[in-house]
Symmetry: C2
Subunit: 412 residues, 2 copies
Amino acid sequence: MLEKVEVDSLFAARINDVPRSFIREILKVALQPDMISFAGGLPNKDLFPKDELRAATEKVFDRYGDETLQYSSTEGFLPLREYISQRYKQKNNLDVPVERILITSGSQQGLDLLGKVLLNERDSLVIEEPGYLGAIQAFSIYQPEFFSVPVGKNGMDESALERALAKKIPKLIYAVPNFQNPSGISYPEQNRRNIAALLQGKPTLLVEDDPYGDLRFHGAAKPSFYELIEGNTILLGSFSKVIVPGFRLGWIVAPKDITSKLIVAKQAADLHTTHFTQSIIHQYLTDNDLDQHIDRITEVYGRQQRAMIEAIATFFPSDIIHTRPEGGMFLWAELPREYSAQRLFDLAVAKNVVFVPGDPFYIGKTDTNTLRLNFSCVDELAINTGIKRLGRAVTELLHHDHKLGVEGSNEN
Amino acid sequence: MLEKVEVDSLFAARINDVPRSFIREILKVALQPDMISFAGGLPNKDLFPKDELRAATEKVFDRYGDETLQYSSTEGFLPLREYISQRYKQKNNLDVPVERILITSGSQQGLDLLGKVLLNERDSLVIEEPGYLGAIQAFSIYQPEFFSVPVGKNGMDESALERALAKKIPKLIYAVPNFQNPSGISYPEQNRRNIAALLQGKPTLLVEDDPYGDLRFHGAAKPSFYELIEGNTILLGSFSKVIVPGFRLGWIVAPKDITSKLIVAKQAADLHTTHFTQSIIHQYLTDNDLDQHIDRITEVYGRQQRAMIEAIATFFPSDIIHTRPEGGMFLWAELPREYSAQRLFDLAVAKNVVFVPGDPFYIGKTDTNTLRLNFSCVDELAINTGIKRLGRAVTELLHHDHKLGVEGSNEN
């Protein structure tokens, strides 16, 4: 048996750079009885089209027989790739050739493959601040230099991006321009156009991760980066938020030469994504109206979001500000600058409510004053109760003056 | 639009080190009408337990409902991990704690995760010669220094391994000790014991990849490295060859601290493997006798292997030698030293038969005199016809003296 010190000496440097997901720990707490959780990042399972997927599965067994159980092509199930291409055309008027669509085991795998194919150690990579934790984890493996560029209600901070571009040309800019995780914000149209103009002619690829774009409650869709600056854009899509996440089905659209390399990397990573689940989703999409299903989801999520915003107005002290997204699954709230959301978390757990403190969404920042609130998985009654509990925790935090750096000084 | 030269400048160094799979090209040729293919590495789809899997799928929809369609745990579906642990106990008398079993998206993902977690650039890695192409591809991404150690009917060449160990302690030794891909050979018991003794106390991990171990036609199973030197062994398993490959379900068993890091890497790579297919396989395993199913597979593959060996004896020139594996899916043949299997391939395609020339199974060798013949996917009649055609191609090669380095000199 190897000694622990020997085992430790065997690890690759890259794996030590990956932040542990604190969220896994939170989700364990969330399972306690009577706990109300705004911590999840999950779609609402009550809205899964289970009967329709079951019917689709029956047809797949009838139609595709053994083929769908055999090894299959790395690129993915051709009819599904054709559907994705057609939907981009019909819904967004985008030309996305089938040859440039690679099916991945969830969008998360898309991020891993992009890191693998594009990132050398110390390459520069722009990430949103706050940014998607899963992207930070996936890219960390490839040891890039992260440049955090703030995002807020005006989208991505253009001057900060300009500074990042001036300093060291980044290879990748990672962006979730629609209903971002964690903040819920969307980039305004002019912001997108300005970013596209900044990238014009530069050897920088913008990774447009768009798992939430279809979950719009109100307002009009904005042009995608793929539309504005196609040659510099890598588009990631996913069925996780609009159908089911458990099948682990996403896709990458990339320039042709990059797609070729992504296929090599995908083959080395897992040969291919199971065609069985790809066939089921394709059959489901053939037999059902996806937009009608999405309407049902957005009706529920929109209602839950309104309930959360109303409850916050009722139960939170007025100095807590938060985003008001036009869609998606999350709100993002800010405590007054000097308070730590991590401290709030401890107070909240004691009151049987949890959320995700902002820290894991930043590169190298701790004790931030921000928090993510998920509204997709909690019904309106629980939202009201949970926000009431959280409001009491916030009041306690502010009242007892748990300020950063002065912890304990006022505890009496 | 970026210029090609700009796109090329974006690629990470690691992706240029991955050998392209020539096999993908071969498989396209194999689809031509009247072509008999010994090139595949696929299990026989006629033996997939399709009805049983369909029944299991029904039950999964009934029992697990929405849970199996939701995001789920990175480690894998717990009842499936428990089944795997119990089967190791019952079948091999091995103690494999559930906590050390991580479900992966096929064994191929296991290789990628191991590379990610363990290999720094230029770390030393021992690979079998000939060795599994998928492992060469997966590990190449992490840019190790490969040491090829020959394998043959006596297993892994112990003196070559000793030399590799003396030169620069390898972090990993990759081995397929049962019915190896591509050669079909198995390591004799004494060879395993000698290798285990060589590794004793060394900070080297042996990756024991065992997708074919259950496909034994005759002879007795040998002790696994996990049994002989558990602390230094990482065991990979797969349902691809004994149930279906299309679900992409495999697993890794590793020492505890390594498992923790593998989970971090797995989460960054694809969050988790779909629990839907895991649940179906688990239900199938609960309701059916896997060993009875395996008996059916080995009966067919064994028959097909005998047919191939008999046809070779009939139709091949006597100076072609080949392995006689006790199980698995492949035979490995050697032409006289001075002939290229790649040249044979061209002659064979013209006669409507294909196989895989040995080259992709070596690190940095070309025009090798070896070839892989798959017998799992071809029925006995087609085997007879195909080997007859191939025999004519071999005769033509030898007769027309297409020797390496003297090509064209005798062509008259």
